[in-house]
């Protein structure tokens, strides 16, 4: 490409500090750093190895779901069904691991989640129905389904069958909890897909300008459908982790967790209009959510107050990332 005299790429004046641009880019990092520093001052226990590992272990499920949600949000969609799919994943894994062993059990569970995502994905992508409503319907239906499958009761696994999975839930590798490794693997894979593959590029492009992508001869619905399948599969995987930590499959876990997951992605700077968002910031978003809950527990903030604080933090994150234009006026 010819460098031209008429189009100077970066005028010198733009090198000066632009607070709005800075926070748009690094807002999530800033919030995270401020939170960690603040938490360390508030509580001596916060920076202990044990507590850090605890936070990481707690967010592993949310983090994995946030990756799926990130894909959906990148296309400009939303997936409200992940909390219910998590419950289905938990129930199915408990039953299937008992019956068929760990490998097949986990596989069946993830497949069930992917199947739920396939149904919502087809309805959103091919029938053109609004994702908010369709995944809201799926949220209700899948929750009911999980309760039907579990007969409304917690599902205990036989001791032999559950050994492998519960060991995973409570185990460590190189001093880091196993579920955290799984979350890290999911994030790395998602990062590779988004950065280096055709699929990742088209997901972002569809969120940026769906019509231009369609008019380039891309089968847009195929990709839109795929992100819901991914989201469903990862939500079920998070359900498997829940089961692994307690040894029990339950149809009532994860109620409201879709909102935490969406909050994590949005704190990570993703735009609900689509096209904008990344893996690293999403991880930071999930960490922010985890750290807030953790520090409030450590210093003994009552549960209801925690919810108010959580809401306030989300608003502050939004103002930092997107509020600069509003302040400038």
């Amino acid at each position: 490409m010819t460098q031209s005299v008429t189009a100077t790429p970066v005028p010198a004046s733009r090198r000066s500090f632009d607070a709005g641009e800075f926070f748009r880019r690094y807002g999530t990092v800033c919030i995270f750093v401020v939170l960690v520093v603040g938490a360390a001052f508030e509580s001596n226990a916060f920076l202990s190895d044990r507590n850090i590992m605890n936070v990481l272990r707690q967010i592993s499920g949310t983090g994995i779901m946030a990756v799926g949600m990130l894909f959906v949000i990148l296309t400009g969609g939303i997936d409200l069904s992940v909390g219910s799919i998590l419950a289905l994943g938990s129930v199915v894994s408990a039953i299937a691991i008992d019956a068929h062993g760990t490998g097949l059990g986990v596989g069946l569970s993830v497949a069930a989640g992917a199947g739920c995502g396939l149904v919502t994905g087809v309805l959103v992508a091919y029938a053109g129905l609004p994702p908010f409503v369709i995944t809201l319907a799926a949220m209700t239906a899948v929750r009911g389904f999980a309760l039907i499958v579990s007969d409304g009761q917690p599902i205990m696994m036989g001791d032999d069958a559950s050994t492998v999975i519960t060991n995973f839930g409570s185990g460590f590798f190189l001093g880091i909890p196993d579920p955290v490794w799984l979350m890290a693997l999911v994030f790395v894979l998602a990062g590779v897909v988004l950065t280096f593959t055709k699929f990742g590029r088209l997901v972002k492009a569809i969120g940026s300008n769906r019509e231009a992508v369609r008019l380039s001869g891309i089968a847009v619905p195929r990709y839109v459908m795929a992100v819901y399948v991914i989201s469903g599969a990862l939500a079920a995987l998070a359900g498997v982790i829940t089961t692994s930590r307690t040894g029990v499959g339950s149809g009532v876990v994860g109620v409201g967790s879709e909102l935490n997951v969406i909050a994590a992605v949005v704190i990570g700077g993703a735009s609900l209009m689509g096209g904008k968002g990344g893996v690293i910031n999403t991880l930071l978003g999930a960490l922010v959510m985890g750290v807030i809950a953790n520090i409030m527990n450590l210093v003994g903030v009552p549960g209801y107050n925690q919810q108010v604080c959580m809401g306030a933090i989300i608003v502050i994150a939004m103002l930092l990332q997107h509020g600069s234009r509003w302040f400038k006026r």
Binding site: F196, K198, S208, G217, I218, A219, K276
Partner: protein, 513 residues
């Protein structure tokens, strides 16, 4: 008879471009005054001044003998000036009655009274319509009646119709003319903008002709002929921007389209383009050219029609099908349809054919992609900070080059360009003309849509002219003149009354594929 409304020396600029250059216009009570001119002549701008939507920089407005300023549309409406735009301003989910009294809906609606008053207004116009019906369910012609009734719900003295019959069949147009006659006889001053000269000559008392934002003259159907009026409208000339036509050899027929149909915008269009040939598609804005292009490309679903590429029938139900058949489209709306502005030149350029830059596992071969994009950038003389620069950082001309590069890369045999130089500066225009020539010289079949007649004449081997969703004729280079093009585009309305009553929105985006 004294003038009801007089505009004197109206001047208005948009970002340095003078859209109105001291225009005079007068309207009497009880006359139909036609306002004529090409697209971009300034007719609609002038009427937006009358409607209070735009404030002129210079000039004066006199209404009923009083000099005044129209600060906003409400001020104009309060005086009894109503402007009925091409795009109707109706709330589709509300009833006919609610729409008619939109501006004065009470907080608590008394349905009986509202409906009775609505029926009264319609009856005065000589129209019967169920006032409880949802406006979105009505045909376009009926919606127009509602829009007029809305104006008549108040004491109205001036009504401006901006191309009211563009979307109407000839029977509905006749009914509209009957309404206009009633209004005229009751002393309302009517401004009538239309591109159908024959109907203008039937109903107008006087005609004002504009060109390039200036007044050309005022005449009447008794004094002038249609040919006279067309001659007054044309005469804009572009500088010689066109590359000396390379020696192109025109080969086999590549694209053949037969009897393409969709709603009232495309009514049985057949055309063909041969290898190495540049065919123009001319006509006025709204004549169905863009819609035709979108149907060929599969961007909208066609009701009927057959498309052949290299003699073989291809099923085109989506842009993907079109791209696979070797057809590319440079759309009219670059920002929304052509390019992904937030993304890089590199990503935009390879979007229509990713195969050569993706390996078997779906990973992007970044180096190869960069090389491809750099090479195309040089070939198209793209001015940018590099392949990673977002398209939004480029000038209009260079953005358009990225869209062109996309289809250079895709390598299909048919390329359709819809207004390829809109919003492009003169220098880049010449370069884009050169690139189009290059594509043709390489044996591609090119279809160019343009509203700039000189552009069509400079570029094309022949020009097809569309009006009202139909092809009205063809011009060969020896016939190239704006008069002949406009005569085809603006007369000979053989609007079929059996025109499909579907009224499909032309740009309705298909959610599927």
């Amino acid at each position: 008879m004294s003038d009801l409304l007089t505009l004197t020396g109206i001047t208005k600029s948009f970002g340095g471009v003078r859209a109105l250059k001291g225009v005079d216009f007068s309207l009497r009570a009880g006359e139909v005054h036609a306002l004529l001119g090409e697209n971009g002549a300034g007719k609609s701008t002038l009427m937006r001044v009358v409607g209070g939507e735009l404030q002129p920089e210079a000039g004066s407005i006199t209404f009923e003998g009083r000099s005044l300023t129209l600060a906003d549309p409400k001020a104009a409406a309060d005086l009894g000036i109503a402007v009925i735009h091409q795009e109707l301003a109706l709330a589709p989910d509300l009833s006919v009655a609610e729409n008619i009294f939109m501006r004065e809906l009470p907080a608590a609606i008394s349905w009986g009274k509202l409906n009775r008053r609505a029926r009264d207004v319609l009856a005065r116009m000589g129209f019967e319509l169920d006032v409880r019906r949802r406006v979105g369910d009505l045909a376009v012609a009926q919606q127009q009646v509602v829009e007029i009734a809305k104006a008549l719900s108040r004491d109205v003295k001036v009504i401006v119709f901006d191309e009211p019959t563009a979307v109407l069949s000839s029977r509905d147009a006749q009914r509209l003319h009957d309404i206009i006659a009633v209004l005229r006889d009751s002393g309302v001053g009517i401004v009538y903008i239309s591109h159908r000269l024959e109907e203008v000559f039937k109903i107008a008392d006087r005609m004002t002709i504009m060109k390039d934002g200036a007044l050309v003259g005022v005449t009447s159907p008794q004094v002038s002929t249609i040919d006279d009026v067309i001659r007054m409208m044309v005469g804009r000339s572009l500088a010689a921007l066109f590359p000396k036509a390379a020696h192109r050899s025109i080969g086999e027929e590549v694209l053949k389209v037969e009897n393409l149909r969709r709603g009232i915008k495309v009514r049985g269009v057949s055309l063909s383009v041969r290898a190495g040939e540049i065919v123009g598609l001319g006509g006025l804005v709204g004549s169905g050219r863009t819609e035709t292009a979108r149907l060929i490309f599969g961007a909208d679903a066609k009701e009927s029609g057959e498309i052949r590429v290299h003699g073989k029938v291809v099923k085109i139900n989506s842009p993907l099908d079109a791209v696979l058949a070797g057809i590319g489209l440079v759309p009219e709306d670059r920002k929304h349809h052509g390019a992904i502005l937030d993304m890089s030149i590199r990503i935009n350029t390879t979007m229509a054919r990713l195969k050569p830059v993706v390996n078997a596992l779906g990973f992007i071969r970044r180096q190869r992609e960069r090389d491809t994009v750099m090479k195309l950038g040089q070939q198209l003389r793209l001015k940018s900070a590099g392949p990673e620069a977002p398209v939004s950082s480029l000038s209009g001309g260079n953005q358009q080059k990225v869209v062109l590069a996309k289809w250079f890369h895709a390598g299909g045999d048919v390329i359709i360009l819809d207004e390829p130089t809109r919003g492009v500066d003169v220098g880049a225009k010449t370069e884009i003309y050169g690139l189009i020539e290059e594509l043709a010289a390489a044996g591609r079949a090119i279809l160019v849509i343009s509203s700039e007649h000189q552009e069509l004449f400079g570029l094309c081997d022949r020009v097809l002219v569309m009006a009202e969703g139909e092809l009205r004729g063809m011009l060969l280079p020896e016939d190239y003149s704006e008069e002949k093009l406009l005569a085809l585009a603006m007369t000979n309305s053989v609007a079929a009354d059996q025109a499909a009553p579907l009224d499909l929105p032309a740009h309705k985006h298909q959610p599927v594929n």
